[in-house]
């Protein structure tokens, strides 16, 4: 190997070195300015990329600054304030909020405010605020996948919704989508590699996101992985990647089952709610024809009504907080499986080329071409990136599901407590009445 750069990739911090001194680019651009991109030319081509102030994505930190960043490598385990557990001090904060409807002659759509706060020098300003629509997020994700194919890019909420079935402009839908977009962006911002991607920078800072610029920002990594020749058959997938694939298959299946059960519960709860409302109404009617028992019966009707309201809240929580997370992870798993397949392809290509090269060497002493060595680097690089991302993904997954399940538990407890409080106040009423009756009897 011609490059003497360190390639150990155990912890997330060292990734930055890899990015700078990428085996595939090292021969051409030693210690180049930051991530391997060719932006300078594009700046002149696309005058549309402005944010009021001249945007300079092109002057990344020098190697020394980046190196010093590495030394700040923190505890790899997630801490309480850092739910996505990047283990590094956070210097990029993003938020998605404030949905607004836009009506034009051609179409109606929603935009969201994307706010950024950062101390990174890749950004000219410490704060940004731009408006983006779903399409823009979709563009960003595709660009990230293309330019960083060895990494796991978080999923977006579903793109297509059946127009007849779901109201795309209902508060519920917009809110759920917005939360998912916020989560997506936060995950990207917390990723030690993805967060430095220039597409992300453009997304966060450009006033008008010109999506045609993307072509020029393709990294060499992206290009080389994209151009992996197909048609090679994989011999031996390393055990750990087999295990990943199996895990993802099973996990995806289980999530699908949980989703189906949850939907069924929602349906049953809705029917229960209908009957329960009528139940309350029957007590009210009955109360109307009673004297002594009127207040107690009205009281029971009231308790039933309160329970109905609390149950409705619980059902809303389930469909707005619980189900979307399940679905998001199912999408995440799908994209992860794609990355695993890509990895297999890269390895297969390497093995194929190596075999061919070895044979030729045996025949006529032709040395192993540099291409083959590059393939090997690609494979090792991919494997390392993937392993690191996998660990991060597992951590995030545990956090997310802990949050999700304990969150649902809390909502359920809240439901029980509301119901209990209503019945307890009824007991007080009934017992007071009993005492009243007794005293009036003895008089």
């Amino acid at each position: 190997m011609s490059v003497g750069a360190p390639r150990g990739l155990a912890s997330s911090g060292q990734k930055l070195i890899t990015e700078i001194l990428h085996p595939l680019s090292a021969a051409e651009e030693p210690l180049s300015p930051g991530p391997d991109v060719t932006i300078s030319a594009e700046k002149d081509k696309e005058p549309g990329l402005t944010n009021g102030t001249p945007v300079e994505i092109s002057s990344p930190a020098s190697a020394s600054v980046l190196l010093s960043r590495l030394q700040l490598d923190g505890d790899p385990e997630a801490d309480a304030h850092d739910p996505f557990g990047s283990g590094e001090p956070r210097d990029l904060f993003v938020t998605v909020d404030d949905p607004k409807k836009h009506v034009s002659t051609m179409e109606t759509y929603i935009t969201y405010r994307v706010s950024t706060k950062t101390t990174r020098i890749e950004f000219d300003l410490p704060e940004y605020s731009v408006r983006r629509r779903y399409q823009d997020f979709d563009w960003l994700r595709i660009k990230l996948e293309d330019s960083q194919p060895t990494h796991l890019v978080p999923p977006l909420p579903e793109k297509f919704v059946m127009k007849g079935v779901v109201d795309r402009f209902s508060e519920e839908f917009v809110d759920t989508r917005m939360k998912a977009l916020d989560k997506f962006l936060k995950r990207v911002a917390d990723h030690p590699v993805l967060s430095f991607n220039p597409h992300l920078n453009a997304f966060l800072t450009a006033k008008d996101l010109n999506k045609r610029q993307g072509l020029a920002l393709l990294t060499k990594v992206g290009e080389s992985v994209k151009n992996v020749a197909g048609g090679y058959k994989l011999r031996a997938r390393p055990a750990e990647f087999c295990a990943m694939g199996e895990y993802l298959d099973t996990f995806s299946q289980k999530l699908g089952t949980i989703d189906r059960i949850a939907q069924r519960i929602l349906r049953e709860q809705s029917e229960y709610l209908t009957e329960l409302r009528e139940y309350g109404a029957v007590y009210s009617t009955w109360a109307g024809s009673e004297e002594q028992l009127q207040r107690p019966l009205e009281g029971v009707a009231g308790c039933v009504t309160t329970s109905c309201g609390a149950l409705e809240d619980l059902s809303d929580n389930m469909s707005q907080d619980f189900l979307p997370v399940l679905r998001e992870y199912i999408l995440y798993i799908e994209s992860m499986k794609n990355v695993l397949r890509k990895r297999d392809q890269v390895q297969a290509e390497y093995e194929g080329r190596l075999e061919a090269a070895v044979l030729r060497k045996q025949e006529d002493r032709t040395p192993i071409p540099v291409e083959v060595e590059k393939c090997q680097d690609k494979v090792e690089c991919f494997n390392a990136d993937l392993k690191a991302d996998w660990e991060r993904w597992q951590r995030n997954k545990r956090q997310d599901f802990k949050h999700l399940l304990t969150g649902m538990a809390d909502k359920n407890i809240s439901y029980y407590e509301k119901s209990q409080a209503a019945w307890e106040s009824l007991i007080t009423l009934l017992q007071e009445k009993q005492t009243e009756d007794k005293t009036s009897e003895t008089n």
């Binding site: 895990y247 049953e268 029957v282 107690p296 538990a409 359920n412």
Partner: protein, 384 residues
């Protein structure tokens, strides 16, 4: 045999001890299976003296209890007769069919039948009834004896409860069915969480306990529905008593009406007599007019008419006297009964509502505690 004014229950211990299945040919010679209940009685003085004699006992079918009740209702129209338990297992809780042979149903019925007998035997008036005594002591020929009283001729068609109660219980039924479905579907989580926990390392224990929680949650619905059934039984009793009261009031109204009619009839007959006797027509009548126009009747005809009128008046006065006595009796007894019943029933129902509320509270508490334990357990076992 029975001393007036002493309550039967004071002199006799009564219980419905057992239930058994029987097979036999019915009135139209078709083979059928039915349940019989063992009615046991023991004389109180023997027990008091410290002897422990075996009880006298006989078997009765539900239809015989019904017969006794109908007889009492007809015989004492102003009294609110205690209700019987359901005839058919109409309101079944999450079971597939209405089964009169279902052991739970049979047991609930046994208890209901015993309550009926105890209440009747402790009623100041009903307990003195001869047919009641024979029901408890005379196994064979009792039915024939009751029919021989000819009570059925007086039977009121309004013996069955009205459909107003039906709506309440059909709603209660549907609520129970839906609740059952919700709980049971949660149970499906149990298995999938367990399977998921198998592929996890750090999260595994937490997921397992979540799965167990779901199983326990689903299983808890059976207890809940049992308590709801108990509550429903109490409500049913209240509502069927309410119907009986309404029947008593209607009967009273009917008696009032008949008295009015009898009184008016008597008044008009007395007026006719006066007119005939004195020849003076006080009130305008066509007869009076025609008499004036066509001349008066012959004296023999007039006497015959007068005599007939006298008879009718005498009968009418008897009728009015009877009806008045009846009405007074009704009014007094019915009022006393209603007051005693309504007050007691309202108190009983309030008690039932309190218990229902307590049941709901305890259920909510239990579920909150369970959920909290599971969530805490999850947090502890997940070290991430």
């Amino acid at each position: 045999m029975l001393t007036e004014g002493s309550c039967l229950l004071r002199r006799m211990e009564i219980s419905v001890a057992e239930a058994e299945k029987r097979s036999g040919k019915n009135a139209v010679s078709i083979q059928e299976t039915y349940t019989v209940y063992l009615v046991e009685t023991r004389p109180m003085d023997a027990i008091a003296e410290g002897h422990n004699p075996p009880p006298d006992s006989l078997w009765r079918r539900y239809s015989e209890f019904e017969l006794l009740r109908n007889y009492l209702i007809v015989t004492y129209p102003y009294i609110v007769v205690p209700p019987l338990p359901e005839k058919r297992a109409e309101f079944v809780w999450h079971k597939l069919s209405a089964d009169n042979m279902d052991p739970d149903f049979v047991e609930r019925r046994r208890i209901g039948l015993e309550n009926f007998l105890l209440r009747v035997a402790s009623h100041p008036v009903l307990s003195n009834n001869e047919m009641l005594y024979h029901f408890l002591t005379k196994e064979h020929g009792w039915k024939e004896m009751v029919y021989e009283t000819g009570f059925q001729a007086k039977a009121d068609s309004r013996l069955r409860a009205l459909s107003a109660t039906f709506r309440f219980f059909s709603v209660l039924q549907r609520v129970a069915d839906r609740l059952y479905a919700v709980y049971k579907v949660h149970g499906n989580y149990g298995r999938v969480f367990s399977e998921w926990s198998a592929i996890e390392k750090e999260m595994g224990d937490g997921l397992q306990s979540a799965g167990h929680h779901m199983d326990a949650y689903a299983a808890s619905v059976d207890d809940i529905l049992e308590e709801e059934e108990h509550y429903a039984d109490q409500l049913k009793e209240y509502l069927s008593y309410a119907e009986a009261v309404r029947a008593v009031c209607r009967k009273h109204e009917l008696s009032q009406f008949e008295l009015e009619m009898a009184s008016q009839d008597l008044i008009s007959k007395k007026q006719q007599r006066e007119e005939l006797a004195t020849g003076i027509v006080r009130t305008f009548s066509l007869k009076g007019m025609t008499n004036k126009l066509f001349g008066q009747e012959a004296p023999e005809q007039r006497d015959a008419k007068l005599n007939l009128l006298e008879e009718l008046i005498a009968e009418g006065e008897e009728t009015v006297k009877e009806k008045t006595a009846e009405c007074d009796e009704h009014a007094e007894k019915a009022w006393a009964d209603i007051v005693r019943f309504k007050d007691q029933k309202d108190k009983d129902l309030q008690e039932a509502l309190i218990n229902y509320a307590l049941m709901q509270i305890s259920m909510c508490k239990k579920l909150a505690v369970w959920t909290r334990l599971t969530a805490d357990n999850y947090q502890l076992s997940d070290d991430s």
